[in-house]
């Protein structure tokens, strides 16, 4: 109190999600004290019960909107925040729970819950940007904590964050990995997926699953065509390849729907 420049207030909000991205923040063990020194952690129930009232300088939002209540709550958060950053695949593209968007959610509710009338849920899981203006979308399932630190550092120092938008392949090649697609024949999503994870899966000789969502100008059609001809992948397998944690992102949704239509022919 009484300081001329109080520390910026940071809040962390949760919507429909697994908490993995929030855990990535707590996973910044070495840097957590620095973060606490640079910003005032005003609202972060996952970490602390102390609550400081808004407005907030930075709001980090995890999770997608799946209930009518959440659809209202996100507007209140937006009004109370100067900068709103979504963290993770759920908040940015709807998450794995957006698989419901391709089906009838009411059928599941009836099948799973003994008293379905108590369940109030929306038919679709949607990203935050469908509801309010978002200043920055940090991708990943979960996010890369180093990129989150970079984003907060950039905000605090008034500079442009260094967060890549290009294909994972650049990151993979810089690391000197063997390309699992060319050398092992694995169906790697790297060429259509945004970098940022540090090429985790290819570094362990696994194909990329697309956790960071589509890169800019992704050519999903050409990649699928190659898989069909050179790996004998069926249309069903192609649908599944694009229907992961970022199934509801525009590029992956169009790709999976195109292959689904072919299966129905």
């Amino acid at each position: 109190m009484g300081r001329k420049h109080p520390k910026p207030k940071l809040a962390v909000w949760k919507f429909a999600s697994c908490d993995g991205c929030q855990l990535s923040i707590l996973d910044c063990e070495d840097e957590l004290l620095d973060i606490a020194g640079a910003v005032e952690i005003a609202y972060f129930p996952e970490a602390t019960r102390a609550v400081v009232k808004g407005p907030y300088d930075i709001s980090l939002v995890e999770g997608s909107v799946t209930t009518p209540h959440d659809a209202e709550r996100i507007h209140k958060i937006r009004r109370a925040s100067t900068v709103l950053i979504t963290i993770g695949a759920c908040a940015t593209t709807g998450g794995i729970q957006a698989l419901r968007n391709f089906t009838e959610v009411a059928d599941y509710v009836r099948a799973v819950y003994p008293t379905p009338q108590y369940i109030e849920t929306l038919s679709k899981s949607t990203p935050i940007t469908d509801h309010v203006f978002v200043d920055f979308e940090l991708r990943g399932c979960p996010i890369n904590k180093l990129l989150l630190l970079e984003l907060i550092s950039a905000y605090l120092n008034g500079r442009k964050p260094v967060v890549p938008e290009y294909a994972l392949c650049l990151e993979c090649k810089r690391l000197g990995n063997t390309c699992v697609m060319v050398a092992h024949g694995a169906p790697c999503m790297g060429p259509v997926t945004q970098a940022g994870c540090g090429a985790l899966c290819p570094s362990y000789n696994r194909p990329c699953y697309g956790c960071f969502g589509p890169k800019r100008t992704p050519n999903t059609g050409s990649l699928a065509e190659w898989w069909r001809h050179h790996r004998d992948m069926s249309e069903e397998e192609l649908v599944r390849a694009f229907r992961g944690f970022n199934a509801w992102s525009e590029a992956f949704r169009r790709a999976s729907e195109a292959h689904e239509q072919t299966t129905m022919k």
Partner: protein, 393 residues
């Protein structure tokens, strides 16, 4: 070590392997092991081919036992597999997934850092002069041609890139002549191989005698000659020298892919709007793999960073590519938004504007971009198609 203004690693003594037979020496595998030991004793970091993650990759090696004895690769567009051979050849492979580029022009480097908590913050540049000298074992003719191209890029003009120059001036190169060609090689038509033509300290050709490898060796520099003398090798026989040259000539003759380079600049400059560009762009993923593996591509991005407090600042350089949108971002957006314009930029730069810029082609015919393109796009096919459609129109 070469003098600082010299762009070649060492003064050539006997660049063309056509001197009298007596100058060719013969090494066996145990000699190669001694050679590696000798280099390491002199403080070199030895980088040679080794089997890693189901590829024959350039990496740090400490003994000849790490060489890919009995292995080679089978490649096609977008396809690579290692395979067993029925002999103990150590250099039967052709281009490796990566070239010397990774070591001379590292994919990520800190350029400087500054600490603002000091009274007079000064940028601190890392001292590279203490880094060990690099000894490359088993580079091919196309690799040397690519190094010569990057020498022009990084050391040829008024502004010398110090990161590259430090690694390059200290480098020692023991090259091998290819005794077979991969289906993706087209160095013969680019005039860059498989025959070694200078640019190395020692040059070797591998022969298989009774299932075991022997090496016909020629020297290319004083330092190479000294190194070889340390092994006191016997001379190679006339028959061995002839056999070696024969294999290299056959490797050239058997190349399946070719690039017709005649009038290639005009071909590109007159075909900016050729519909073929749209066709290839429908397949291209703009994933940048071709530029990453290309031994001559030299693009990088400069990134500035701070810590949370803003007291520590640092500037980094990382490999980048004309396939990324950030790379051509100016105020208002990227100047090459369409994938078509990005594929066109890559090929036009490699094969045409490079000639205006550096007086040489940006392609040495190694075929890496063909092998490591995830969807097998082949530049020789694109150039041929461009020629066809230019003729038709």
């Amino acid at each position: 070590m070469a003098d600082a203004s010299d762009s070649q690693s060492n003064p050539p003594v006997d660049p063309a392997p056509s001197g009298p037979d007596g100058e060719r020496k013969l090494l066996r595998l145990p000699d190669l092991d001694r050679l590696i030991g000798l280099l390491r004793a002199r403080g070199f970091r030895v980088i040679g081919p080794t089997v890693r993650d189901a590829t024959i990759m350039l990496g740090d090696i400490e003994s000849a036992a790490q060489l890919p004895s009995g292995w080679a690769e089978r490649v096609e567009a977008g396809f690579y597999r290692v395979e067993r051979r029925d002999d103990a050849a150590c250099f039967a492979h052709r281009t490796s997934p990566e070239s010397a580029k990774r070591h001379l022009f590292p994919p990520a480097q800190k350029l400087w850092r500054a600490d603002g908590s000091e009274d007079h913050p000064q940028p601190v540049v890392e001292d590279r002069s203490t880094a060990p000298r690099l000894a490359f074992l088993g580079l091919h003719a196309c690799d040397l041609a690519a190094i010569a191209v990057q020498d022009k890029v990084f050391m040829g003009g008024a502004y010398v890139d110090h990161v590259y120059a430090t690694h390059r001036r200290g480098a020692l190169i023991i090259a091998v002549q290819c005794t077979s060609s991969a289906p993706t090689c087209f160095c013969d038509s680019m005039g860059t191989g498989p025959h070694l033509d200078g640019g190395c300290d020692l040059g070797m050709t591998e022969l298989i005698e009774g299932g075991e490898p022997v090496y016909v060796v020629h020297t290319g520099s004083e330092e190479g000659a000294q190194l070889l003398a340390g092994l006191a090798p016997p001379p190679a026989s006339h028959a061995q020298v002839v056999a070696a040259e024969q294999l290299v000539a056959e490797a050239a003759a058997h190349q399946k892919r070719r690039m017709q380079t005649e009038g290639i600049k005009d071909l590109f400059y007159q075909n900016y709007e050729n519909p073929r560009w749209e066709e290839v762009a429908r397949r291209c993923l703009t994933c940048a793999n071709c530029t990453m593996v290309c031994p001559t591509c030299f693009c990088a991005n400069i990134e500035d960073g701070t810590d949370l407090s803003g007291r520590l600042a640092e500037r980094r350089r990382r490999w980048d590519s004309c396939y990324t949108l950030d790379f051509s971002y100016i105020h208002g957006g990227s100047v090459r938004y369409s994938p078509m314009s990005r594929y066109r930029q890559w090929l036009t730069h490699k094969l045409a504007t490079w000639i205006d810029q550096f007086g040489t082609s940006g392609c040495v015919g190694c075929g890496r971009c063909i092998v490591w393109c995830p969807v097998g796009i082949d530049l020789t096919e694109e150039v041929a198609a461009l020629r066809m459609s230019a003729r038709a129109s």
